[in-house]
Symmetry: C2
Amino acid sequence: LRKAAIIAVGSEMLGPLRQDSNSLWIGVRLEEIGTVVVRKAVIGDDIEAIAAELAVASAAADIVITTGGLGPTADDVTVAAAAKWTGLPLERSAAFVEEMRRRFELHGMRMPAVNEKQADFIVGARVLSNPRGTAPGFWMERGGKDTVILPGVPSEMKEIMTSSVLPELARKGGGVVSRRRVLRISGMGESAVEEIVAPVYTKWKDDPVTILAAPGEVQLHLCATGAPEAAQERLAAMEADFRAVLGARIYGTDEEDLPAVVGRLLREKGETLALAESCTGGMVASLLTDAPGSSNYFLGGIVSYADSAKKDWLGVSEETLSQRGAVSEEAAREMARGARSRFGAGMAAAVTGIAGPDGGTPDKPVGTVCFAVAGPGGRETVKRRRVPGDRAQVRRWASLFCLHLVRRQLLEEGSVD
Amino acid sequence: LRKAAIIAVGSEMLGPLRQDSNSLWIGVRLEEIGTVVVRKAVIGDDIEAIAAELAVASAAADIVITTGGLGPTADDVTVAAAAKWTGLPLERSAAFVEEMRRRFELHGMRMPAVNEKQADFIVGARVLSNPRGTAPGFWMERGGKDTVILPGVPSEMKEIMTSSVLPELARKGGGVVSRRRVLRISGMGESAVEEIVAPVYTKWKDDPVTILAAPGEVQLHLCATGAPEAAQERLAAMEADFRAVLGARIYGTDEEDLPAVVGRLLREKGETLALAESCTGGMVASLLTDAPGSSNYFLGGIVSYADSAKKDWLGVSEETLSQRGAVSEEAAREMARGARSRFGAGMAAAVTGIAGPDGGTPDKPVGTVCFAVAGPGGRETVKRRRVPGDRAQVRRWASLFCLHLVRRQLLEEGSVD
């Protein structure tokens, strides 16, 4: 596999206020064409520092990509640094100055004199045209290695990468690609997933499989590298093996998150949903309505934060509140039933719990959360869980577990342990 | 100011799945003691690559801090790389092997043989004890420059930085510090804020003032560097100047966000709040209930996604819905009034709009959002805005603008333009 190094140029990214995000995007794209990133750096707007990093990066990698420092102002010095490092001279392109001037005039503006600097081309480098901005990129080939100089504005960088850089690097890489698949599992912890997949893990030990714990879910990241068809086949075989042991515990793949999956299932089944939330305080509703078109299946919800709201709006009984408490399986069940009947929904889900940091008791410590789903035909799921973590983690986990229970009931697969 | 370079070691941080977050934290802490970060790098678990980066970093900076690669496994090679770069030998500390063994036994475990490697100390380097883990850090002084080797586990790295590294670096820096203040402004765009602060900006042009646009707010980051008292005084003077022109447009400082400020005001005034949300789908409620203790002032909310919910739950009139539409100032006003009376709250706020991507009309394009706040004594605020951006941006902005209107009404400063 060819090795790549990424250099993000800009003093502002060395302070606490702005982070480099370009190199993550570039890294993902390079990986897709079977390239492995061996170093990343953020360097200030300083000719010596950029030239030094170009030298180190070029010694370590076959491909060096820089992003940033191509602007018109005095502190934009990446081109000067590249010229210094290579020993190649700069030459101002009169044709390009004219082209920039025309572009400004097209927008009814006069080109500032400083912009002329962006026409200083590295002699011997290929110019990469920038359809979205004035600063062009450059491509230099030396000793079998490629150095690509790109602007820092994300939209400009991505456009040049996609249209000019990646196709050519892919050709040079001999058509090797990497294919990724993320399998997403809800309602289980990382170790429970690991136990189930252990034999499959062993079978595919030569391929990178990564297990990641995210809030409320576990992700398996599968990756296969090779010729496009072979990589695709290998990835499909890996996925099939993991699916064989995990089954419906996998709720979705790649970018599809749990709220989107629940929305898709509700739409497919022509079902409608209402919510009654206490400790999650509207987060479940907010997650569901993130998805466009959610008004097709989501009728609405009650954030019944005060006990009086649980009684008045949802019909939770005085007896349940006084004898079992607002955080109880019974209260959750009555909240779900109340929301279902009052919204006239096919299904309703309820969450009530103690998110903390205060409000815990020996009986119901912070993190105690009760869930209920009420569906058609009197079908109901009721769960109680002790969720670890701080307030934000409890709320997030509880919101996703609520959606997990809705999904499981929609799949009519029996209740979840 | 002394210059620093940060090196994050670990091949996993070069892939798309795990990001280096340590160097951001380290950078902020270094800045506070008047140090400026001049380069950051992420390097894989490779002796040559780490040694090469140590050389480059040390040439560029007075202080080099590495984090990661101190674990017990074969791919943890930062110590070996530091030894290689300096030419200093490694020597296994029998005493430290014993200490590790005792620590494992305290937790009822046997120390794995691989862990002995963590007792390989760099001869001539100072050992930095790690109260939270087995891997110690190292401090090397050579030619007036400091190289600090730290573990990658964030809690361990932060502990050693805070207890051992930062105090000593601060002493070496001659007591120069940087002090920061963030002024947060809601309900205005970046250019409107810039126009107001332009004269103050000019006055403090020698000090770094950064204006940042965040979703739903604009932030002014002020920074002053010098001896502690002088820096503090200078920062206070800067803040006073900006406050003089911005006044109550500044809703909070530093970490205090808008939901927290609204919560504090509600508590201070003994007021209660209820919500009626349509396009924001529970996001306003979710933001408010992120704050611990929000049950003291937040009674609850209705996510009235379907029109029937707006009628049944909030009493929005048939006439308003059919003649003005669910997205109208009138509907927002009726939603707020309905939520206020039905929750028995002192104040209620309502949001109704078209978050997109579908549902727009020539009259009410995507991004049209109406807001209302109903308060004691019949006091009401009603607003209509056209919000730019995609669905997520419209929802986020509208949620924060709703809280902005609640704050303005709580301050009794008249309605906002």
